[in-house]
């Protein structure tokens, strides 16, 4: 069965909204991810997030150059346009993207300006594992005291993310997705500390 563009994507959005307003809280829709019958080189969760957020008014960027097929498909399904990293509203990071490429992209992506901080990029990052059992300690709006998170995102990238969100309200908002229909968000307001022990 295919995806219901109205009700399924509404649910995906509500999960995104819940996770964005509760950073570090993992939302899931495994049953829906199973129903996705597209054969693309990105995970079903990533595709659902892209379909829920992208349309002809926004642009997206995919890091790897040899993914023309995926770029074409996402553009066809959502009507969003592909743009270079400096202009993209959404940046999609796939599982096999190299750390150095992600670092480069993070340096160049949009973080908004002080008058229009909303003109920043939102990242959809594919992951192998998401759990609340990790070395990242999150604090900030939306989190009661603190939350723990494991994303499989290397610490060098977290340092780079912290650097880009330093000048609040400028910054980037991250959405992590995995293969099992789970997602978790880390907006720019969240303070991410890398702790050695839990």
């Amino acid at each position: 069965m295919a995806i219901d563009q109205v009700h399924d994507l509404q649910l995906v959005f509500r999960k995104l909204l819940h996770s964005m307003s509760h950073p570090g809280s993992i939302s899931s829709f495994p049953e829906m991810a199973d129903r996705v019958d597209f054969d693309l080189s990105c995970s079903d969760t990533t595709l659902l997030c892209a379909m829920a957020l992208l349309d002809a008014e926004v642009t997206f960027h995919i890091l790897s150059k040899d993914n023309q097929n995926l770029i074409g498909k996402i553009a066809e399904y959502t009507l969003a346009k592909y743009a270079p990293i400096q202009e993209a509203d959404f940046v999609i990071v796939l599982q096999d993207d190299k750390e150095s490429d992600i670092l480069n992209a993070m340096d160049q992506c949009k973080i908004g300006n002080l008058i229009n901080p909303q003109q920043s990029s939102t990242w959809i990052i594919e992951n192998t594992r998401l759990s609340n059992d990790g070395v990242l300690k999150l604090t900030g709006p939306g989190i009661k005291s603190h939350a723990h998170l494991e994303t499989g995102f290397p610490s060098v990238l977290w340092y780079s993310r912290n650097e880009r969100t330093k000048e609040y309200p400028l910054g980037i908002d991250l959405i992590f997705t995995d293969n099992d229909g789970q997602l978790v968000c880390v907006p720019r307001t969240t303070t991410v500390e890398i702790t050695e022990v839990k």
Binding site: Q5, V6, H7, L9, Q10, L11, F13, R14, L16, L17, M20, S21, H22, A52, L53, L54, D55, A56, E57, V58, N113, L114, I115, N116, P117, Q118, T122, P141, G142, I143, K144, Y168, P169, D173, P187, R188, T189
Partner: protein, 288 residues
């Protein structure tokens, strides 16, 4: 002629645009995110901002409550409820505890909201600095520079004139120690409910084309001076003439027979709930 409307009235493109604005608003608490406010079947300034948020987030399993000045049954609330219900078929309720989305104008319900609920507030004037600066471009610069002297000056002038801050409603607040925000025309009594709230609060201004938000567990501080601390409306020594409640926000009424001043809960579903509970207790007391 009656035509079937699309689920939740909007086309999917409109929903997507509003949803993206909502996510940005949550990521930048208190910042007014511009959005392309749609033409709605109710007039601008009558809750179109709140309505557009509600229609963009609502799903088939949601349960909706709409209030207007604390009342579930006033015209504005009823028309909005009817529109949402006829285009989505969602269940409508009056009890605050039963709702998953609560759209409100001018009040935050008395019953504390939970983490699973979303409060949508209708906003007539989202810009707390508008009274001191008419130009949108300039107020955007003031926000970007964290320059809120205009808002402070407004309160200072009230103290000079009246001996205290005289905001009847919409007392400005600092959100997450960065943006000064208009909390919508809720009484000062409700301002503290926004601080570290369990529920997500979304605010929509349709005519002014702005969406902003207060995520749960976020610091919301009402603007006040050290020597003139913030205070809420006091109802000390007063009680609701229907249910006897104290420490809630009350309307002042005149008893038509005795011409005395009486008070009544402003939150009608809260009052009704208490009356039902009292009656149950009375019945049990009499017959058991």
């Amino acid at each position: 002629m009656k035509t079937e409307s699309h689920f939740a009235f909007f086309d999917e493109g409109s929903k997507k645009e509003i949803r993206r604005a909502i996510l940005k608003a949550v990521a930048i608490p208190g910042y007014q995110v511009p959005f392309a406010s749609r033409e709605m079947p109710i007039a601008r300034g009558w809750g179109t901002g709140g309505l557009q948020i509600t229609l963009s987030i609502i799903g088939k399993t949601d349960v909706l409550k709409v209030i207007d000045q604390g009342a579930d049954e006033s015209v504005n609330a009823v028309s909005i409820k009817k529109l949402v219900n006829s285009t989505t078929g969602v269940k409508l309720v009056e009890r605050t505890q039963d709702a998953s989305i609560i759209q409100s104008r001018h009040r935050i319900p008395e019953v504390p909201l939970t983490e699973d609920q979303i409060l949508v507030l209708q906003v007539p004037q989202p810009e707390p600095l508008r009274k001191v600066e008419a130009r949108e471009y300039i107020t955007k610069i003031l926000h970007s520079e964290d320059d809120y002297s205009g808002a402070w000056l407004m309160l200072f002038e009230q103290i000079m004139k009246y001996g205290k801050t005289s905001t009847g409603a919409d007392h400005p607040v600092y959100v997450n120690n960065r943006y000064v925000m208009a909390p919508s025309p809720i009484p000062r009594f409700d301002n503290p409910k926004m601080h570290q709230s369990d529920a997500l609060i979304l605010l929509g201004a349709g005519r002014e084309k702005k969406i902003y938000a207060v995520p749960p567990y976020t610091d919301v501080k009402s603007l006040a001076f050290d020597d003139y601390p913030f205070s809420v409306e006091s109802f000390a020594g007063k009680h609701c003439h229907l249910c006897g409640a104290t420490e809630v926000f009350m309307d002042e009424l005149i008893d038509t027979e005795t011409s005395e001043t009486i008070y009544q809960c402003n939150d009608t579903s809260y009052c009704m709930d208490r009356l039902n509970e009292n009656e149950e207790a009375e019945v049990k007391g009499n017959y058991v």
